[in-house]
């Protein structure tokens, strides 16, 4: 039997058990998931603790509950008041009552929904996946008789307010203005929605639920790979949105400090993380470290993005996924991330020592394509020696 085959067999045997040995599984995933297209979704669900490795017989009921919970969130946050049973005499778009559900509805448009909309549309433009129709669109949204899609609320060139027709006394009819989809994006027909629209909805609901933090740019790059992994796998696609939402929430609970400005200077904040990288580089390769310092190339020129997006913008998607396998499977995920970042710098050390300021900034901001396994094995070495 080939090494690959025996590895695959061992792996399948691991996840077949009623009680999965998560420690053994993590070790396995760290060095790569065999038949990753098939098995990555289940592995990630385990790594995000969305599925409890010890209680397989609970999975079904747990998933059902979580998917229902998510569906309720969609109903709560994505269905405008006009489509719910609201008493229009007291709650209408022109109401001065600040508690009016309309007033929150419009405030969202102005603040984070606009930003989410822009970023969801420009997520991973190198692949067509996010512009393609979602295989399992959200029925409540796409089949509604009223246009209730999120991006219609913030479509350009239209007012972000509703049209209120006054007929006689009182308000008779409220239309949400029919809005045009922006030029570059094909409007999906009724009954369909694109994958980026699904991402937009998840980010919107996340921001509503975590209103203190709201939406921060870059969250789209974190949720993108997770959604892609689930939605592009036939067995996992049907509930990709709900499952992705909860896994994203779990991941964000670990990295939320990267996205909060007031925590920048703390250990778990972005500046703290960049400092860790600086210190590791000093220890592992003083020449390169000195060179970068001499040239005035500060870590925030490149590693701000590397760390806060878990490297999702630095490599092609398949490599990002492979990288995330190892990071997620590591017991000290973000220490390992720092090791990967440090490995990336060391692997281009000769160029750094040779180049001038601008070439070095460009090199680090547009990291050259490289065998991802190469990067990982270097990171493993660094991790072992710390």
């Amino acid at each position: 039997m080939s090494v690959y085959k025996s590895r695959l067999k061992e792996f399948e045997n691991l996840i077949k058990q009623d009680e999965i040995d998560i420690k053994a599984l993590k070790k396995f995933i760290h060095s790569g998931i065999p038949e990753c297209a098939k098995y990555r979704p289940i592995c990630w669900k385990l790594l995000f603790n969305y599925l409890d490795p010890k209680r397989k017989n609970n999975w079904e009921s747990h998933l059902e509950r979580q998917r229902n919970n998510y569906r309720n969130l969609i109903k709560d946050f994505c269905i405008p008041p006009s489509c719910k049973d609201v008493d229009l005499s007291v709650d209408h778009p022109l109401s001065d009552n600040i508690d009016s559900s309309w007033s929150t509805f419009f405030k969202d448009n102005e603040t984070f929904l606009l930003q989410i909309d822009k970023d969801a549309r420009r997520l991973l433009p190198d692949i067509s996946f996010f512009q393609e129709p979602c295989k399992y669109p959200c029925d409540i949204v796409v089949n509604s008789d009223t246009e209730i899609r999120l991006h219609h609320r913030v479509a350009p060139s239209t007012l972000s307010s509703a049209n209120v027709e006054r007929k006689g006394v009182g308000i008779k009819k409220i239309n949400l203005i029919v809005k045009r989809a922006p030029e570059n994006y094909q409007a999906m027909q009724k009954g369909q929605e694109a994958n980026w629209e699904v991402v937009e909805r998840m980010l919107f609901i996340y921001a509503k639920l975590n209103s203190g933090q709201g939406y921060v740019q870059g969250m789209n790059e974190i949720i993108g790979p997770i959604y892609y992994v689930f939605a592009s796998n036939d067995e996992h696609a049907e509930f990709a949105e709900a499952d992705c939402f909860w896994c994203f929430t779990a991941l964000m609970s670990e990295i939320r400090d990267f996205f909060i400005k007031t925590l920048d200077e703390t250990d778990s904040g972005i500046r703290g993380m960049m400092n860790k990288l600086t210190r590791m580089l000093e220890k592992k390769d003083i020449h390169v470290s000195n060179r970068l310092k001499e040239q005035g190339i500060f870590p925030q020129y490149y590693s701000f993005r590397w760390i806060s997006l878990i490297l999702s913008q630095e490599f092609d998607l398949p490599d990002v996924l492979r990288l995330w396998d190892s990071i997620l499977a590591d017991d000290s995920r973000f220490e390992y991330l720092i090791c990967v970042c440090c490995a990336m710098i060391i692997l281009v050390r000769d160029q750094i020592l040779e180049n001038d300021f601008e070439h070095n900034v460009k090199l680090l901001q547009n990291y050259p394509s490289m065998d991802i396994n190469f990067v990982l094995s270097r990171a493993n070495q660094l991790m072992e020696s710390t």
Partner: protein
């Protein structure tokens, strides 16, 4: 002897709300192309272009920033070394225009006093969706005594011109300073640059 590749180095900065087209403007200028989908800028990006002005080769080092509030601590640290700042709004987006005031205040707080500023009303190709009139752009520029231009990264309108006018203004400034104080302008060549970290900017002290 190393060959001298440029005479002057100007450090420029692009700021403005997210989505107004900063990355597209920079890409149009540096690569003469337009791509409608750019991933969102996280933190700060960097491009170089050398232009020729009045017989001098001027290297422009241009920093593109993320617009969202979250990134301000990280991006404002670049203001200090900038010699020119391009402040961009989107003519189809009222909010981005209103925020120009906010961005100007940011410059006051974080940039050098004598930094050259220019306001750009971008996406002027989208005439049917225009919300901010050219007059309003001109008015605000006049009020603050700043240069103004409407641009389109997509249709390639005024992009070159914006950068070269800004560069020229900086050149005027450095030239007049030069006569007062020789140390104000650092003339660099490749060889110098290798050795000295101080080449980065003539404005950092």
């Amino acid at each position: 002897m190393a060959k001298k590749t440029y005479d002057l180095l100007f450090k420029l900065l692009l700021i403005g709300d997210s989505g107004v087209g900063k990355t597209c403007i920079l890409f149009r200028f540096s690569d003469d192309a337009f791509t409608s989908t750019f991933i969102s800028t996280i933190g700060i990006d960097f491009k170089i272009k050398t232009v020729e002005l009045r017989g001098k080769k001027i290297k422009l080092q241009i920093w593109d920033t993320a617009g969202q509030e979250r990134f301000h601590t990280i991006t404002t640290s670049y203001y200090r070394g900038a010699m020119g700042i391009l402040l961009v709004y989107d003519i189809t987006n009222e909010k981005s225009f209103e925020n120009i005031i906010k961005w100007l205040r940011n410059i006051d707080e974080h940039a050098n006093e004598d930094v050259e500023r220019m306001i750009l009303g971008n996406k002027c190709d989208m005439t049917d969706k225009r919300i901010v009139s050219k007059e309003r752009g001109e008015a605000i520029a006049r009020e603050y005594g700043i240069r103004f231009m409407e641009t389109s990264a997509k249709a390639n309108i005024n992009i070159e011109k914006a950068f070269s006018e800004l560069a020229e203004a900086i050149l005027d400034q450095t030239a007049s300073k030069d006569s007062n104080n020789e140390n104000q302008v650092v003339v660099v060549d490749r060889k110098n640059q290798e050795k000295s970290p101080a080449y980065r900017s003539c404005c950092t002290s």
